[in-house]
C-alpha cells in the first residue's frame, strides 16, 4: 500500500466516524424549551432545516400548545407529525401554525416532519 492509499484510508475512516458522530451524537444536547405557563403550556419552535429548539419539556395532564414558525419553503418540513397524538398538520411557509394536544402520561414523544427525516422530542414529565 502506498503512503497515499494509507492516508486516504485513514482520512476516510476518520470522515465516517465524524459523520456518524456529527449526525447521531453531537446534535443531542440541543436547547430545551420549557413550556411553563399557568394553563396552556406554550412553546415556539422555529422550523428551518430542523426544529429549534428540538426538545420541549412539558408537564403531563395539561394542554400543550406548540407554535411552529416555519421560516422556509423547503418541502421537507411542510408537514409536522405527532404520531402519538394523531396529529399531522400542514405548516404554511413563513407562518406560525399552532398545534395543540394534552399529553396524559409522562414519557418521551417524538415529533417529525412528514417523512420522519427531521425530528424533535417532547419530554413529558410528571405533574
Amino acid at each position: 500500500m502506498s503512503a497515499a492509499q494509507i492516508a486516504v484510508t485513514l482520512a476516510g475512516l476518520a470522515a465516517i466516524a465524524w459523520v456518524n458522530w456529527y449526525f447521531f451524537l453531537a446534535g443531542r444536547g440541543e436547547a430545551v424549551a420549557v413550556a411553563a405557563d399557568q394553563g396552556v403550556q406554550r412553546a415556539r419552535i422555529v422550523v428551518r432545516g430542523g426544529y429549534t429548539p428540538a426538545t420541549v419539556r412539558v408537564r403531563a395532564g395539561r394542554p400543550v400548545r406548540l407554535e411552529f414558525d416555519r421560516q422556509e419553503t423547503s418541502g421537507c418540513t411542510e408537514e409536522v407529525v405527532l404520531p402519538d397524538f394523531g396529529i399531522r398538520t400542514y405548516l404554511p411557509a413563513h407562518q406560525t401554525t399552532p398545534v395543540e394536544f394534552t399529553p396524559q402520561r409522562p414519557g418521551s414523544y417524538e415529533f417529525t416532519c412528514g417523512m420522519a427525516m427531521v425530528r424533535g422530542r417532547i419530554l413529558v414529565e410528571e405533574k
Partner: protein, 781 residues
C-alpha cells in the same frame, strides 16, 4: 361620572381549566376589577370570557394576562383556519413550487443537453482515459456527425470547452440547484441531513473537482492525470432531480384530490326566504333556522329538514349509494347533495362546521394525519438513512482509491458521487403516507370513512365480521306484521291488544315499542298514558294503563312477572319460526295476546354476506332477538353462525369471546347502542341509515346503510395495504440494490458501473413511481 371618550370594545377569550362555578366566578371578578373593563361575563359551559373594555385603557393581551393571573389558561383566539383555507394555501404554495421547479427544470435540461454536446469534443480529446460512460458511447456517432457538420469543433482547444462548460454549469448550480445547497446547509447546522444533503455533497464534489481542473489543468497534467471535467454530470443530476421533484410535487397534489372534491361539492350560494322574499345569499351568511328553496337540479346548501315539497335527492356524493332517496316533509336532508326532480323548501338545522359534509372532511383529514404502524420500520430507516449513505460514499471512495484501476482517485470520486445521488430517502418517506392519503380520500368518495392507517391495517387482517343484526342487515325499522289476541272473543280484542301494548310502550325507546306505537297511530287508535312505567332491559316493559297492569315483552319476562303464557307459548314459537319477533302481552296478570313484529331485511344483505365469504371472512349475526327469529332471518341472508338472545350490555362480552378464539373481529353496528362493542372489536364499523351516522363511533364509518359498504371497506383496506407493501418493498429494495451497484459492486465481475447521471435518473424514477403507485388507489371501485 367621567365620560368615556373611546367607544367600548368587546372580545371573547377562551379560558381553560375551569371546573366549577367558583372558578368562573374568580375569573370574572378578576376581570371586573382590572382597569378599563366595563363588563365581564365568564361562561363555565362554553369556557369563554366575554369582556367589554375601553381600548384606551387596556388591551386583549392584558386581559389574557389578568385571566392567567388567576391560575387558569387563556388564549386569544387564533384566526380560525378552516380546512378549506388551509387547503387553498397549500395548493397555492404547491402551485408556486411547481411553477418554480418547472422553470428551473427547463433551464437546466437545456443546459444539460448543451453540456452533453460540448463535452463530446472533450471526450474525444481525453479518449478512454476518463470514466467509460455508456451514455457517452451511445452519443459517439452523434459526436462524429457533429464534427462533420462543424469541423471547427474539434479544432477548439480543450481549455475553451472546459470554460464554456463552466459558464453553462454555473447558473444551474447557483440558481436552479441553489435550494439543494442552502437547504442542505440549514439542515447540517441542525445536525440533520436529508435528501438535499446527498445531492449537495454529490454534485458539490463533482463541481468543485471540475472547477479545480478548469482553473489549473496544468497541475493535473503534470501529475499524469488527464484533466477530465464532470460539469455535464452535475447539470444532468440537477436537471433530472428537479424533474423528479416536479413530478413528485404534481403527484402529491393529486393525493389530496378527494378532499378537494368533497369541499367542491358545496354550492357557493343559497336561496333563502327572508321576510317572505326570496333572496340569494352567499353560503357563509346562511344561518340555522333559515328556510331554503331548492329547485330541481340544484345542490342543497346545508343540512336541514324538509318543510314542503317532495323530491328525489341524489346523496351518492356522500354515501356512495347511486339510488336517489325520496324526500317528503319531515325528512332530513344533507348539504352538498343534489336535488333531482322536485322543488323543496327546507329549514336549515346545521351550517358550517356542524354539517355532515364538514364532519366528513374533518374525519378524512384526521385520518390522513395518523401514522400507520407499518410505517415504523420505514421511519427507523429514514432516521439513519442519510448519515449511513454518507458513510457508504466515503467507504466507496476509499475502496476505489485503494483497489481500483488507475486513475484511482477519479474512479473513486465518480463512484462516491454516484452512491450519494442514487440513494433515495424520499421513496421511503412517501411509501405509506401517500397510499393512506389516496385510500382514505377514495373511501370517502365511496361513502366509506376509514380513520387512518391503523384502521386500514386492522381491516386488512380481519377474519370475522359480526353484524349487530338490527339496522345493519335489516332496515332497523321493525313494523308490526300481525296482532293475535289470545282468544278472538276474549276480553281484549285485536285493536284493544294493540292499543294497550302501544300505550304501555309509549315512552319506551325500544324499536319494537316504536313499531307498535306507529302501527297503533296508523290505525287511528287513541293511546292511553301509562303510569308506573318500568323498562326491563332486553326483556320488555310494564306499566299501568287505564288502571290495568299491562306488560309487553318476551316469554321470560312474563314468567318473571308470574304470568302463565298459556297458549301464547306455541304462538310465539310459530311467529319466531316465521322470522317475526313475538311480543307477548299480559293484561291484568293474564296472557292477552301476541304481536308479531319483523324488521325487513335490507335488499343487499345477502350480497354483502356472500361478498364477505368470498373474501374469506366469516359473517356472524349478533342479535337480541330470540334464537328462532334470528335463525329464520339468518337463513334468508345466508349467514350460518348466529349468536342470538344477547342482551345489549352483553354484546361486548360476545366480541371478547370471539377474540379469545383467536379471531380478528369486525363489529358492524349503528354506532349508537353498541359503542362499547364497536370499541372492543378489532375494527368497529359504524353504519348509518342514510346520512344519519354516529361518525366518530367506529374505526370505519359507512355513510350509507348499505351492508355492501363492509365489503368495500375490507377490499379497500386490503388493496391499500398491498400498495403500501409494494411501495415499501420497492423503496427498500431500490436502495439495497441501487447503492451497491452505484458503489461498483458489480464492477469486479461484470465491469458494470453507473454514471452519476444514470443514478440521478434512477432516483427521480424511484420516488415518482412510489407516488404513482399510490395514486392507483384513486381508481378503486
Amino acid at each position: 361620572m367621567t365620560e368615556t371618550l373611546t367607544a367600548p370594545a368587546s372580545c371573547t377569550i377562551p379560558v381553560s381549566g375551569m371546573t366549577c362555578a367558583a372558578c368562573s366566578g374568580r375569573v370574572q371578578r378578576a376581570l371586573e376589577k382590572s382597569a378599563g373593563v366595563s363588563n365581564a361575563s365568564v361562561n363555565l359551559m362554553t369556557g369563554a370570557a366575554t369582556v367589554q373594555y375601553d381600548p384606551a385603557a387596556t388591551t386583549p393581551e392584558r386581559l389574557v394576562e389578568t385571566i392567567r393571573g388567576t391560575g387558569y389558561g387563556a388564549e386569544l383566539p387564533a384566526a380560525d383556519r378552516s380546512a378549506e383555507t388551509m387547503l387553498e394555501e397549500r395548493d397555492e404554495e404547491r402551485e408556486a413550487e411547481i411553477r418554480d421547479l418547472r422553470r428551473k427544470f427547463l433551464v437546466s435540461i437545456v443546459a444539460a443537453v448543451l453540456a452533453m454536446v460540448f463535452s463530446m469534443p472533450l471526450a474525444e480529446v481525453t479518449g478512454s482515459g476518463g470514466v467509460p460512460d455508456p451514455l457517452m458511447r451511445l452519443m459517439m456517432p452523434l459526436s462524429h456527425a457533429l464534427e462533420r457538420v462543424f469541423p471547427w469543433m474539434a479544432a477548439v482547444p480543450a481549455d475553451a470547452w472546459r470554460w464554456t462548460l463552466l459558464a453553462l454549469t454555473l447558473p444551474v448550480v447557483a440558481w436552479a440547484g441553489r435550494h439543494f445547497y442552502t437547504r442542505a446547509w440549514t439542515a447540517f447546522r441542525h445536525h440533520s441531513a436529508d435528501m438535499n444533503t446527498l445531492i449537495a455533497v454529490g454534485t458539490g464534489a463533482a463541481f468543485l473537482y471540475s472547477l479545480a481542473v478548469t482553473l489549473a489543468p496544468g497541475w493535473f497534467a503534470v501529475r499524469g492525470v488527464e484533466p477530465h471535467v464532470y460539469y455535464e454530470a452535475v447539470v444532468w443530476i440537477i436537471a433530472l432531480i428537479l424533474l423528479g421533484n416536479l413530478l413528485e410535487a404534481r403527484a402529491k397534489g393529486r393525493t389530496a384530490g378527494a378532499i378537494r372534491r368533497l369541499i367542491g361539492l358545496r354550492p357557493a350560494t343559497a336561496r333563502v326566504l327572508r321576510g317572505g322574499v326570496e333572496v340569494e345569499i352567499p353560503l357563509g351568511e346562511l344561518r340555522v333556522g333559515d328556510e331554503v328553496l331548492v329547485r330541481p337540479g340544484e345542490k342543497l346548501p346545508a343540512d336541514g329538514t324538509v318543510l314542503d315539497g317532495t323530491s328525489y335527492v341524489d346523496e351518492s356524493m356522500l354515501t356512495g349509494e347511486p339510488v336517489p332517496v325520496p324526500k317528503v316533509p319531515g325528512d332530513p336532508v344533507v348539504g352538498a347533495t343534489l336535488n333531482r326532480n322536485g322543488a323543496l323548501r327546507f329549514r336549515v338545522d346545521q351550517v358550517g362546521a356542524d354539517t355532515v359534509l364538514s364532519r366528513i372532511i374533518r374525519l378524512v383529514q384526521q385520518a390522513q394525519g395518523t401514522r400507520a404502524p407499518i410505517q415504523r420500520l420505514a421511519d427507523r430507516i429514514s432516521a439513519v438513512f442519510v448519515p449511513v449513505v454518507l458513510s457508504l460514499a466515503i467507504a466507496t471512495f476509499v475502496l476505489w482509491f485503494d483497489f481500483g484501476p488507475d486513475p484511482a482517485y477519479l474512479h473513486a470520486l465518480v463512484a462516491a458521487v454516484t452512491v450519494l445521488i442514487i440513494a433515495c430517502p424520499c421513496a421511503m418517506g412517501l411509501a405509506v403516507p401517500t397510499a393512506v392519503m389516496v385510500s382514505t380520500g377514495r373511501g370517502a368518495e365511496l361513502g366509506v370513512l376509514i380513520k387512518g392507517g391503523e384502521a386500514l391495517e386492522r381491516s386488512e387482517r380481519l377474519d370475522t365480521v359480526v353484524f349487530d343484526k338490527t339496522g345493519t342487515l335489516t332496515e332497523g325499522r321493525p313494523t308490526v306484521q300481525t296482532v293475535l289476541p289470545a282468544s278472538p272473543d276474549g276480553p281484549v280484542d285485536e285493536p284493544g291488544l294493540l292499543r294497550l301494548a302501544a300505550s304501555v310502550e309509549r315512552h319506551s325507546e325500544h324499536v319494537l315499542g316504536e313499531a307498535m306505537v306507529d302501527e297503533a297511530r296508523a290505525r287511528g287508535l287513541e293511546l292511553g298514558d301509562p303510569s308506573q312505567f318500568e323498562s326491563l332491559t332486553g326483556r320488555g316493559v310494564t306499566g299501568l294503563v287505564e288502571g290495568l297492569r299491562v306488560a309487553a315483552g318476551n316469554g321470560a319476562m312474563l314468567r318473571e312477572l308470574g304470568v302463565d303464557p298459556g297458549a301464547l307459548g306455541p304462538v310465539a314459537e310459530r311467529l319466531a319460526g316465521e322470522g317475526l319477533t313475538p311480543v307477548l302481552v299480559a293484561v291484568g296478570g293474564a296472557a292477552a295476546g301476541a304481536i308479531g313484529i319483523a324488521d325487513p331485511v335490507k335488499p343487499t344483505s345477502r350480497e354483502a354476506v356472500a361478498g364477505l365469504e368470498r373474501l374469506g371472512l366469516e359473517p356472524i349475526m349478533l342479535t337480541g332477538d330470540n334464537r328462532r327469529t334470528a335463525e329464520a332471518v339468518a337463513r334468508t341472508i345466508g349467514i350460518r353462525r348466529v349468536i342470538a338472545e344477547v342482551l345489549p350490555d352483553r354484546k361486548l362480552e360476545e366480541i371478547r369471546r370471539l377474540q379469545a378464539e383467536g379471531r380478528r373481529v369486525a363489529m358492524v353496528g349503528d354506532g349508537l347502542n353498541d359503542a362499547p362493542a364497536l370499541a372492543q372489536a378489532d375494527v368497529g364499523i359504524a353504519m348509518g341509515t342514510g346520512t344519519d351516522v354516529a361518525m366518530e363511533a367506529g374505526a370505519v364509518t359507512l355513510m350509507s346503510g348499505n351492508p355492501l359498504g363492509v365489503v368495500t371497506a375490507v377490499r379497500l383496506a386490503r388493496r391499500t395495504m398491498r400498495i403500501i407493501r409494494q411501495n415499501l418493498f420497492w423503496a427498500f429494495i431500490y436502495n439495497v440494490i441501487g447503492i451497491p451497484i452505484a458503489a461498483g459492486a458489480l464492477y469486479p465481475l461484470l465491469g458494470l458501473r453507473l454514471t452519476p447521471a444514470m443514478a440521478a435518473a434512477a432516483m427521480a424514477i424511484s420516488s415518482v413511481s412510489v407516488v404513482s403507485n399510490s395514486l392507483r388507489l384513486r381508481g378503486f371501485k
